[in-house]
Amino acid sequence: MDLFAGFRDPAIARALLEKIRGETRGVRFMEVCGTHTVAIFQSGLHSLLPENIVHLTGPGCPVCVTHDAEVAAYLEAAAKDKVIIATFGDLMKVPGPGGASLKSAQADGARVKVVYSPSDALALARDNPDDTVVFIGVGFETTAPGMAATVKMARAEGLSNFKVLSFHKLVPPALEALLSDPGMEIEAFILPGHVSAVIGAGAYRPLAEKFKVPAVVAGFEPLDILQGLIILIEMLREGRHGVVNQYTRVVTEDGNAKARALVAEVFETSDALWRGIGTIPGSGLTFAKEYADFDALAALGIELKETPPIKGCMCGDVLKGKLAPNKCPLFKKACTPARPVGPCMVSSEGSCAAYFKYNLES
């Protein structure tokens, strides 16, 4: 029995869509999370929304926000002797400075293993005691707890050849940066479902208060998103702001305390580099002192160096919702999934990739 079939019911979806079509008050909304971006396109919702509902894609694809400097760092690690890179598949084709990627590094002889979970990477370290296994820790609040648990496991086992490049990023500080941008044209937010399951819907309340913006934590099925949009339109019409939790079957007000405690034990917050946006204060996770020996940057003597931005790539504006991906001058011309200029074109959750893959008009 498909647990989620009810949330995809076409008849209910059509009824909700009719309701939205009947609304005179529109909304310029941004979904923060890449999974939502893909869901909106995959379900065909993007093609069904009326003109007064403007859909902007946000900075919520962990691959897309990985900074060039971070890509350069993991490529530098991959080029080292006796290093095995363990990574999620999404990063394989992300172009770094000069167009190199893990795929091209692999062709040049680097040892790169695609894994499905941090614990697969741990197994790799166990099986290759003479090599250093470097896991590329890219992701948001959702992936960090698993990472922290794996690091603790490595500690318990005394595996000293397991290291992590912690490029984790945190969503609320990025939202704050977006909201502080004077050129921002977003009226309302659909907040990420998975991230919120960890940090809780309450985590966004201070931001919604400070910037007087309406936001909805929503699930990923078409009905979730449609319902979220209706809530946002009503809030805007009534001049209300705040956070409404539509995704109560998964997300609570306080989130998952255990997961957060794990992260707080292993990591501490730090400033982090976001592609196209720059440094966002308090938006990253680096290793806490007691776990500093897992830090791959220190262990391999690699420094994050500023890299010149990719010429012509408008990732920053796309991630900030200022530019529709298909309006980037390179879109579908110099930049395609086969020859990506920016990561937004190759990540499975990237907004340029979503426009390229799913959008009829682009």
């Binding site: 076409p10 979806a13 379900s43 069904l48 691959v63 499905y116 893959k357």
Partner: protein
């Protein structure tokens, strides 16, 4: 024979002869092959269809099949998709030194069984043994030859607006079976490859319905990529209704776990049939009468609009592109 394949077995000398006579001749047993001439003499009439393919699948044994049966099914199906009866196969083995003899025996036996079931004879072959590391355990090339039974032959460019698009069964089983075995994953509901020879079903289909426009097996790149190829070469649009696509729950949930799209996963025992809409019901009846076409259904139509594009109509009535596969599918982060 030793319990591992040695370089000697490819030498052309006595060791090779032993391998050929004790293993290949015994398994493929037929008059033409046993003459051991440099080439085979074939008895064919009329126009001929030929197809060749090399099989390098990893793992070599997977749920629902192995590289041997796959090498027969894959080529037999390619020949059949031309509206032809496959009659003969050639096969070339490239074997990595050290392959357990037991594995080779299993593979050859499975090839022989697959060929028998498909009604094709393996009439000539070749074996090379290469040093360790020069190939991955075993690669098999097969070439299939068959007699064409309908003219004009089914072909991608014949898809025409108004045609019905049918598939013979569930999509994605083979691809997911391979991937999950490769990753050492096991799902609650086991997923088996659909690898099978489709020629008998194809022959009965085109004999009753010679008007069939297109027959294709959606192997690598899956249904989505094959439909795009058909749209591109016919210059038509193809509209697919997502709500009727046959995909098992096991494949659906396995794919959602791995972040893969079943429409891009390879199939090895399924085909796409495109033909005038008024013949669709009859075609489906023929397909469903065969166990290999039990789950056949119409998934969409060929259109004049959106030339060279495949459009997916989602259950909520939205439309989106269903593009070509770009490179290999990689599992996602979160």
């Amino acid at each position: 024979m030793s319990d591992k394949v040695l370089l000697d077995y490819g030498s052309g000398g006595r060791a090779s002869q032993r391998l050929v006579s004790e293993l290949f001749l015994a398994a493929f047993d037929n008059e033409e092959l046993s003459r051991l001439n440099d080439a085979a003499v074939l008895d064919l009439s009329g126009p001929v269809a030929v197809s060749t393919d090399s099989f390098t699948v990893d793992p070599i044994f997977f749920p629902g099949g192995d590289i041997g049966s796959l090498a027969v099914h894959g080529t037999v199906n390619d020949v059949a998709m031309l509206g032809a009866t496959p009659r003969y196969l050639t096969c070339g083995f490239i074997i990595e030194e050290g392959l357990p003899m037991e594995d080779l025996r299993r593979i050859v036996a499975s090839m022989a069984k697959a060929a028998r079931e498909a009604g094709v004879l393996v009439v000539t072959g070749d074996t090379k043994v290469v040093p360790k590391g020069a190939c991955d355990r075993i690669f098999i090339n097969t070439t299939g030859i068959g007699e064409i039974i309908v003219q004009p032959t089914p072909s991608a460019e014949r898809a025409a607006p108004g045609d019905a698009v049918l598939v013979s069964g569930n999509m994605g089983d083979h691809g997911l079976a391979i991937l999950s075995k490769r990753q050492g994953l096991s799902f609650e509901a086991p997923v088996e490859s659909d690898s099978a020879a489709l020629n008998h079903l194809i022959v009965s289909l085109v004999q009753s319905l010679p008007q069939v426009h297109v027959l294709r097996d959606p192997t690598r790149g899956g249904l989505a990529t094959t439909l795009n190829e058909i749209a591109a070469s016919s210059g038509t649009g193809i509209l697919v209704r997502e709500s009727v696509l046959p995909i098992t729950d096991a494949v659906r949930s396995g794919c959602s776990f791995l972040g893969l799209d079943p429409l891009y996963l390879a199939n090895e025992g399924k085909f796409i049939c495109i033909l005038p809409q008024e013949l669709a019901e009859k075609a489906l009846r023929i397909m469903r009468a065969d166990p290999l076409g039990r789950d056949a259904c119409q998934i969409g139509v060929v259109t004049e609009e959106n030339p060279k594009k495949v459009i997916l109509e989602t259950p909520i009535g939205g439309k989106r592109l269903l593009g070509m596969l770009e490179g290999e599918q990689l599992p996602r982060i979160c």
